[in-house]
């Protein structure tokens, strides 16, 4: 097995934010005593006046973000994804989305990446929670290049955005030369295939690619689609998968029946209903490190490949 280099996307986020802040004095950061976990240390050093750490107060944090936007600034509001979303959901709905405030919500360390810190710290519900809110783009970069490109896009767009910034180490998945690595509203087909399509987001994209390799060994040709804008979904790309392949598997580090899985399911059903399997955690996690938990929930290359075989009716191994 080739050991690829992997990255914590928070580093790319932090680095790009500092770079952008040099060029655009309107960029500010807001956080909830999360300078360290949001990787805002360098930002704090370079722009001490432009970091608003409100302490442990997520409702205040999001409201302050909306206020900063009102004053003409471009706030990046950063906190652990679960606290940012669970604790300030009404602020996200009313102050940001319904007010169309120019706020960039950055949910750090989402999914199961807090591992043994337990379900109170896992952010697996966030995609369901945020997709339900109108006018709130939900963006989930899959690797460092996408993270940087997504931040750049967000900074340059007037309006609310939620960015899900992964902590779990991921390899590069963006095709070299793909520039920009992220295009708002567009999914990218990372591998062609005819039998089944694996639709993945965030940390699951690299695993989907590995799963496709495993499936190839079994003679199954699997397409891999990286959905980095979970809301609004790239309906065309999903519709193409439904029309051109015989099965669809979705994989996400989130509750699938309200997250990516549900979004894809709707398009598949409206296009050409083919069998689907939605992978993702559906229960509170047991104790364990992130790698263990991903295995527990079958969010591995093996698990994805197995699901694809099952849904194709080929699981008689």
């Amino acid at each position: 097995m080739i050991v690829e280099e992997t990255y914590d996307c928070r580093d790319s986020f932090a680095d790009e934010l500092v770079r952008l802040a040099h060029a655009d004095s309107r960029i500010v950061a807001v956080c909830n005593d999360s300078v360290g976990s949001s990787k805002l240390g360098a930002f704090a050093k370079e722009f001490p006046d432009r970091l608003v750490n409100v302490g442990i107060a997520e409702q205040d944090m999001v409201g302050v973000g909306a206020g900063l936007a009102n004053a003409g600034l471009v706030p990046f509001v950063c906190g652990a994804a679960t606290f940012l979303t669970a604790r300030a959901l009404e602020q996200i709905k009313a102050d940001v989305a319904y007010s169309l405030a120019n706020v960039k919500l950055c949910g750090m360390s989402p999914g199961l990446s807090y591992g043994a810190l337990g379900p109170t710290h896992h952010s697996t519900e966030d995609l369901s929670w945020l997709r339900a809110i109108a006018d709130l783009p939900v963006v989930v970069p899959a690797d460092p290049a996408q993270t940087r490109a997504a931040i750049r896009w967000a900074a340059g767009t007037d309006g609310p955005v939620f960015l899900r910034i992964g902590r779990f180490p991921v390899p590069d998945v963006s095709p070299p030369g793909d520039d920009p690595a992220f295009t708002y509203g567009r999914a990218s087909r990372l591998r062609e295939g005819e039998d089944a399509t694996i639709v993945a987001t965030g940390t699951m994209v690299s695993r989907a690619l590995l799963a496709a390799s495993l499936l190839a060994e079994r003679g199954v040709s699997a397409r891999v689609v990286n959905v980095s804008t979970v809301s609004p979904l790239d309906r065309e790309e999903i519709a193409a998968a439904a029309r051109q392949t015989r099965a669809v598997v979705t994989a996400e580090e989130a509750v699938p029946t309200g997250g990516l899985g549900a979004a894809v399911a709707e398009v598949v059903l409206a296009t050409r209903p083919v069998p689907m399997r939605l992978l993702g955690p559906r229960t509170f996690a047991p104790t364990g490190d992130p790698e263990f938990l991903l295995e527990h929930f079958e969010l591995t290359a093996d698990g994805i490949a197995r699901s694809a075989l099952e849904v194709l009716g080929l699981d008689h191994s």
Binding site: M61, V64, D95
Partner: protein, 301 residues
């Protein structure tokens, strides 16, 4: 970004009303206190009457809180806020955030007296596809800085505005108008703490202290006293004034400031100005019928 809310016709500035409002502001700038008091009282009377007829016409509204907050809004828009209703997006405008967003009709009406949009448009309050829904939407209503309605949202936003304006070197001030029952929401205390920590001397909170919330007296629900002490312990200046005395409000809102945010606790009467509504909890969101509206308008004449 596409707006998914259909907002019907846009609300555009009413230049005639803007002219009248500008003349009022000029007059007040040079008036003695008695003249100023009379002018503001007249304006407040106009607003109260329009509030009653708008709510009665629409069959929807929060009559009690509209009438208790009227003098606060009148003083702010009539004599305090540095705004330009022709340019609601002017970067250096003072910001007014009505955190008790259920009192939208008082706000909408006050905005029309400044000319943000024509008073006739109030007739569409709550009507299908109207920009004027039951709670103020930033998308649809010029002069509305942030959408409110859920309580406890305004002060955090106000803190952000004040931090942002300071960062940008703007002299603009930020005022957040809060309900008293609303102060039971912890989000306010998060924001209060942040405001004090950051020494936001350009931020003012005005509490409409009418002693009633939706279902009962605040003191019977979850008592707020000693309220001024709470704000002081959270690092704010706090003053208490008669919330129906325009000059007292004016003084409290314009007094020289130290390095701290200020809370003006405005003692008010819910339903103020209409005898059968005053201090009666049921008028929180009761809508006057035709006869009640007639009586109310008579009393407010």
């Amino acid at each position: 970004m596409t707006l998914t809310q259909a907002t019907g016709e846009l609300l555009l500035p009413d230049h005639e009303a803007i002219g009248a409002w500008r003349r009022l502001r000029d007059r007040l700038a040079h008036a003695d206190r008695d003249t100023a008091a009379a002018a503001l009282a007249a304006l407040a009377g106009d607003i109260r009457r329009t509030v009653i007829s708008t709510i009665a016409g629409a069959g929807l509204g929060h009559t009690g809180g509209d009438l208790s907050v009227t003098d606060i809004l009148t003083t702010l828009y009539g004599a305090v806020l540095r705004i330009d209703p022709a340019r609601p997006g002017w970067p250096d405008r003072d910001r007014l955030i009505l955190s008790k967003g259920h009192c939208s009709v008082a706000l909408y009406t006050t905005l029309t007296t400044c000319g943000y949009f024509p008073a006739e448009r109030l007739r569409a309050f709550a009507a299908p596809m109207s920009p004027l829904n039951g709670h103020p939407s930033r998308r649809a209503v010029p002069g509305v800085e942030t959408s409110t309605g859920p309580l406890g949202h305004g002060l955090p936003v106000g803190v952000g505005v004040a931090v942002g304006l300071r960062l940008r070197g703007s002299p603009a001030r930020t005022v957040v108008v809060l309900g008293d029952g609303e102060l039971q929401e912890g989000s306010n205390w998060e924001a209060a703490m942040t405001a004090a920590h950051r020494g936001l001397a350009s931020l003012t909170a005005v509490v409409d202290r009418n002693g009633l919330q939706q279902g009962a007296r605040t003191s019977d629900t979850n008592g707020l006293e000693p309220l001024a002490d709470k704000w002081r312990a959270f690092g704010w200046e706090a003053v208490e004034v008669d919330g129906h005395d325009h000059l007292a409000l004016l003084d409290a809102l314009t007094a020289p400031r130290g390095d701290r945010p200020r809370c003006v606790i405005a003692r008010t009467v819910k339903g103020r100005g209409v005898s059968f509504m005053e201090d009666r909890v049921e008028w929180h969101h009761k809508v006057p019928d035709a006869e009640q509206a007639r009586l109310a308008l008579e009393e407010l004449r």
